[in-house]
C-alpha cells in the first residue's frame, strides 16, 4: 500500500487503536512508511516496541529511510541481555525475551506516560512474534489488555500483524478490541 493510501485511512484516527495487517512481502517497507508518516510528517513522538528485529537493525533501517528516530523511544524484547535482565542503553530498553510480558507491559507504561506531548504513538511490532513465544490465549489476553491501555494512554496505537492464513480467527477476535483494522 502506498504511503498516501494509509495517510487517508489514518487521518482523524487520533487516540485510537489500529490493527495493521501487513503482507509478508512488503512488511518491512510498510512499517517504515507508517513510522515515517508518524514521525516525519505528523511530528509525533512515540514508542516503538520491537519483538521482531533488534534495535540496532531497526535504527539502521530508520536512518536509511531518513526517519527522525530521535523522537522515538525503543523497547527491544528480542536482543538477548546478560541473564535475561532488562538493560537500558541510550534510547532503548532491552527486555531480553518476548516471553516476559510483565516487563514489556511495565516498559510500555513507563515509556508512554513519560512522553508529555499530548499526541503520541505506540507501535507494536509484531503480533506474530508474540505468538511464537506465547500461546494464543495469552496473546489474546495481552492484546486485549494492550488495546485497553492504549485507550487510557490516549495514544495512536498501531499493532502490526502479518497476513497469514492461520491467523485469521485470532485477528477477527482481536479486531473487536481495536477501533479499526487496516489491511495494508
Amino acid at each position: 500500500m502506498k504511503k498516501e493510501d494509509f495517510k487517508k485511512k489514518l487521518k482523524g484516527m487520533e487516540n485510537s487503536v489500529v490493527i495493521a495487517v501487513v503482507p509478508a512481502k512488503s512488511y518491512e517497507q510498510t512499517n517504515i512508511n507508517l513510522i515515517k508518516y508518524l514521525t516525519n510528517d505528523l511530528r509525533i513522538p512515540g514508542v516503538y516496541v520491537t519483538l521482531n528485529k533488534p534495535y540496532s537493525k531497526m535504527k539502521g533501517l530508520f536512518e536509511k529511510a531518513k526517519i527522525d528516530s530521535s523522537i522515538i523511544l525503543f523497547i527491544d524484547a528480542i536482543t538477548k541481555t546478560a541473564g535475561g535482565i532488562p538493560e537500558k542503553r541510550k534510547d532503548c530498553l532491552y527486555i531480553g525475551t518476548p516471553e516476559n510480558l510483565s516487563d514489556v507491559s511495565l516498559a510500555m507504561d513507563q515509556a508512554v506516560t513519560s512522553l508529555t506531548k499530548r499526541e503520541k504513538f505506540l507501535f507494536f511490532d509484531s503480533l506474530n512474534t508474540l505468538l511464537i513465544y506465547n500461546n494464543v490465549k495469552t496473546v489474546a489476553r495481552f492484546i486485549h489488555f494492550l488495546a485497553g491501555k492504549m485507550h487510557v494512554w490516549k495514544v495512536r496505537g498501531i499493532i502490526v500483524s502479518l497476513q497469514k492464513k492461520g491467523n485469521e480467527d485470532l485477528l477477527n477476535e482481536l479486531s473487536q478490541f481495536c477501533d479499526m483494522r487496516l489491511d495494508l
Binding site: P45, L73, L93, Q110, K117
Partner: protein, 153 residues
C-alpha cells in the same frame, strides 16, 4: 403471617446480638492483654498481605523484574508476620530463648526490605524514561514543524 415473620426476625436479631456479646466476654476472658489483641490483628493483616502477594506473583511472567521484586516483598511479609507470631507466642509461654528467634526474624525482615528497596531502585533506573523523554521534548522544541507537517496534521 406478617406479624409472625417480624417476630421471627426480631428473635433472630436478639439471638445474634446475645451470641456476639457472649463471644466478646469469652474472648476478653481468654485474651486479657491489649498487646495480644493487637498482635492477633497484626498477624491477620500479615497473612492477608502474604495471600495477596502470592496471587500477584503467580500472575506475573517468570523471571520478570516485577516478579523478582514481588518475591522479595513476599519474603519481607513472611518474615515480619513470623516475627509478630513469635512475639505473641513469647508473651504467652514465657520462653526466654525465643528472643533469639525474634532477632532472627527482625533481621530477616530488614534484609529482605533492603533487597526489595534495591529492586525498586533497579526498576526506576531501568524502566524510567524521564531523561529520554525530556531529550525528545527539547528536540521537538528545537525543530519546529514545517508548513507541510502542519498541513499533514
Amino acid at each position: 403471617m406478617l406479624r409472625e415473620n417480624t417476630a421471627i426476625s426480631l428473635i433472630k436479631y436478639v439471638f445474634g446480638i446475645l451470641v456476639i456479646i457472649f463471644a466478646l466476654i469469652i474472648i476478653s476472658n481468654i485474651v486479657s492483654a491489649v498487646e495480644l489483641i493487637i498482635g492477633a490483628i497484626t498477624i491477620s493483616v500479615g497473612i492477608l498481605s502474604i495471600i495477596w502477594t502470592i496471587l500477584a506473583r503467580y500472575s506475573l511472567s517468570p523471571k520478570s523484574t516485577l516478579r523478582i521484586f514481588t518475591t522479595n516483598f513476599l519474603a519481607c511479609s513472611i518474615a515480619v508476620t513470623a516475627f509478630s507470631t513469635v512475639r505473641i507466642v513469647g508473651r504467652l509461654v514465657q520462653i526466654p530463648w525465643l528472643i533469639i528467634i525474634e532477632f532472627f526474624f527482625i533481621f530477616a525482615t530488614f534484609f529482605f526490605f533492603l533487597l526489595a528497596s534495591y529492586y525498586t531502585y533497579s526498576i526506576g533506573r531501568e524502566f524510567g524514561f524521564q531523561r529520554e523523554s525530556k531529550n525528545i521534548e527539547q528536540i521537538l522544541k528545537r525543530k519546529k514543524p514545517s508548513k507541510k507537517q502542519i498541513k499533514a496534521k
